[in-house]
Symmetry: C2
Subunit: 448 residues, 2 copies
């Protein structure tokens, strides 16, 4: 018997995994709302020309076509968004008269890219973005704040410790200008491949494809090697003897962000001049974060400053800064290695047993009484020997089974099926221990 | 200056509307989890042949194509799902060895249909589905339970009262068989248009397109006219003098569901033999719900029993029953008429004022102290006269402004900007009134 098969690159979780994902998202949401970020959602589609104009993922966009559409229908030329930044910039422009700035928003949505699937790279994936967008101007304090928010959110999750690498595009572009390079964008994109292809291949590409001479290529790699857990990176850059106004501006910005980071968890923020981010739209600060022990997975959170993404000509400008958390990438790794899971497979804390089909109404009354006090529960599907009903609860990880019994036989009883202890109980008063009421995230010993 | 424009049929909410939507979804989720429903999510895409095989929406499916894909790439032939039932049935089959049955699941996701947009009909819309799926068999009690769950969930929302109309496909098909009709599916679909096109047009289509004679068409309309808030509908059907085994089975099922409904809110469940549901996959009970005063909007919640949707041949069968809540349809109407909104435009309960850029660190320390005790807040973007900072809070609906002041000048103060009252306060101890801590749903007086 052959059933449907998974689609490569379109991950789906089992119920116990989705429970864990939902708990993780709840924690992210709670932290972001404590920081005053408001949720928004954008449509899944954007006009194809807009998607193609931003970023460098043109090859991998999914285009939509209605099965029976005429060529000039009003929903022609739409594609699925590949990130949440481009749709958000469009949303800001479209609604600018009805929004309050600076706008602090978060967004938890699926994105789609037609990439070749591999571990950590999906065709459909969930991202959580947090951004601050200003009207006309947005101070550099927002770049420092986003870094603090990223640490606060990621630090609240039961995942390995996260280190955020920070750089500033102006530093790199300033250095490249001082070196006399023509195509700074192509240089940036090539240097951005350092982790993937290594220093030797980057040097070769800089020379052969971008047209640098050997000394320039060597200097680019030297710059990319600069890194410090504090503001001392600036001394290393200045030691190179390069002079450029944009470079000075970038050094001042990155220094300010790193100084503010001194108040964050020690050693978890590193100025690293290798970080470039492939996307075109970043103009200043850029971030990339990795999980300790999972550096091979690549970036699990990234972002940066975009001063020009949302602008509508004639002086209307909405500079922003933001970070994206790659939820699917994180969970794919942690689920795959059994490092994260949920304490049970269902929200139900209690299975109310069913003595016979005729007594269903009585079992349902017990369930209603428990629910009225916030205790998630379900009534057994079929009457069966109590041993079978207990095993059904066991398979779902439901900790308690309730036996409704008539007044004559002495009243209700509830059994903790883990310990086997069984006690008389009143559906209007009994409470489970706090730690059993809701599904919990558990690390390392996820249910099989 | 021309900016981006909305896409017809792809609604997006303003932040304060999304806050209201999120609160509504939280309430739905809380109720469903109290009933032991577990969340799952399915991918946005399904193989096109699967989408075309189910339902009757073939014309309106959005097909995906990767911009640079070769014709035989492994992601060719995918379409966006048009509901959550077809993907769920596929998910059940695909994961059947790893799921526990009966499976009670809910799913909150966008769906896509390329329909002509109009009020209440969208190309992208959010649905919440709750289903119970059994292995091999699923008792009729599940049909009654889903009806109770629908009432419980919808009754927990600040929306107009909801009436659920219930029917059973077997009653209609049994009647049609007893009348000697050949094409019961075509008859069902035509009768299903009663609300849209009226009795006379249905009668004409039954005769001209489906091939019924006048007496048969009249009988179909007579059946469709039967309705009762209790189990008495069965007498009206029996008075027609039709005899068929399937009809008897359907009457017994619908009677049992209506008897169980006697425990639900009075008058809010009606057996109505006009209800057919257009989709092919329903095999027994069908539900359709409308909001009082908004009957013109059509169905805001619908569903039914599907015994054959998830089957993998060779005896593997997963009968199910479920309901779908049309969240976007409900909210589109209530937002559009100002009948639902959020108490403010941001999660922030407090705006911490910024005396000067140099004092940002002190304002951030106040914010951190408030957040540590669960109070959502944000620091003002720029130093400005306090009057301006208060007006900025007002525009976002933030109820409190915090003035951090040095020890010398007498300590911190907090101002309720609605009343203008201002008091000394300690960031480590002050609490807002409970009703101001979180964003609340408000009816009828949504922020403009």
């Amino acid at each position: 018997m052959r059933g449907p098969r998974p689609l490569s690159g379109f991950p789906e979780w089992l119920p116990e995994q989705r429970l864990a994902e939902q708990e993780l998202l709840d924690r992210i949401r709670t932290r972001l709302e404590l920081h005053g970020f408001v949720p928004i959602e954008t449509r899944a589609v954007e006009p194809l020309d807009q998607l193609l104009a931003k970023g460098e993922t043109d090859k991998e966009i999914y285009v939509l076509r209605r099965l029976q559409a005429e060529p000039d229908s009003d929903d022609a030329g739409l594609g699925l968004h590949f990130d949440l930044t481009v749709p958000f910039a469009r949303y800001v422009l479209e609604n600018r008269g009805r929004l309050q700035f600076p706008l602090r928003r978060y967004q938890m949505q699926k994105c789609w890219r037609g990439e070749r699937p591999q571990e950590g790279r999906y065709r459909e994936f969930l991202q959580v973005d947090a951004d601050i967008v200003g009207q006309d101007a947005l101070g550099l304090h927002a770049d420092a704040e986003l870094l603090a928010v990223a640490h606060d959110v990621l630090g609240s999750l039961p995942i390995p410790p996260v280190t955020v690498l920070v750089n500033n595009r102006k530093v790199l572009e300033g250095c490249y200008r001082a070196l006399g390079l023509k195509d700074t964008q192509a240089t940036l994109r090539t240097v951005d491949k350092l982790d993937k292809i290594g220093a030797e291949a980057v040097r070769a590409q800089l020379v052969e494809r971008v047209g640098l001479d050997q000394a320039q290529a060597r200097a680019c790699l030297e710059i990319a090697g600069i890194s410090s857990p504090d503001a001392s990176f600036a001394d290393a850059v200045r030691a190179l003897g390069l002079h450029d106004d944009l470079l000075e501006e970038g050094l001042a910005e990155l220094t300010a962000v790193m100084r503010a980071a001194a108040r964050l968890p020690a050693g978890r923020t590193v100025a690293n001049l290798r970080i470039a981010r492939g996307l075109d739209y970043y103009t200043g600060t850029v971030y990339e974060a990795v999980m300790a022990g999972h550096e091979d997975l690549g970036t699990i959170c990234a972002g940066g400053r975009y001063d020009d993404l949302a602008s509508a000509g004639a002086g209307a400008r909405y500079p922003g800064v933001g970070v994206s958390i790659g939820v699917t990438r994180i969970l794919g790794r942690l689920f795959g290695r059994g490092l994260l899971g949920a304490s049970r497979r269902t929200p139900s804390c209690v299975l109310v047993a069913l003595p016979s089909e005729e007594e269903r109404e009585r079992s349902e009354a017990v369930a209603a009484a428990l629910r009225a006090r916030g205790i998630p529960c379900e009534v057994a599907d079929q009457p069966a020997r109590y041993g079978r009903q207990i095993r059904a609860a066991e398979r779902k990880g439901i900790p308690f089974v309730w036996f409704p019994v008539g007044e004559a036989s002495g009243g209700h009883e509830v059994r903790d099926i883990r310990s086997g202890e069984q006690h008389p109980a009143d559906p209007g008063r009994w409470n489970p221990p706090d730690e059993d009421l809701r599904v919990r995230l558990v690390g390392g010993d996820a249910p099989a």
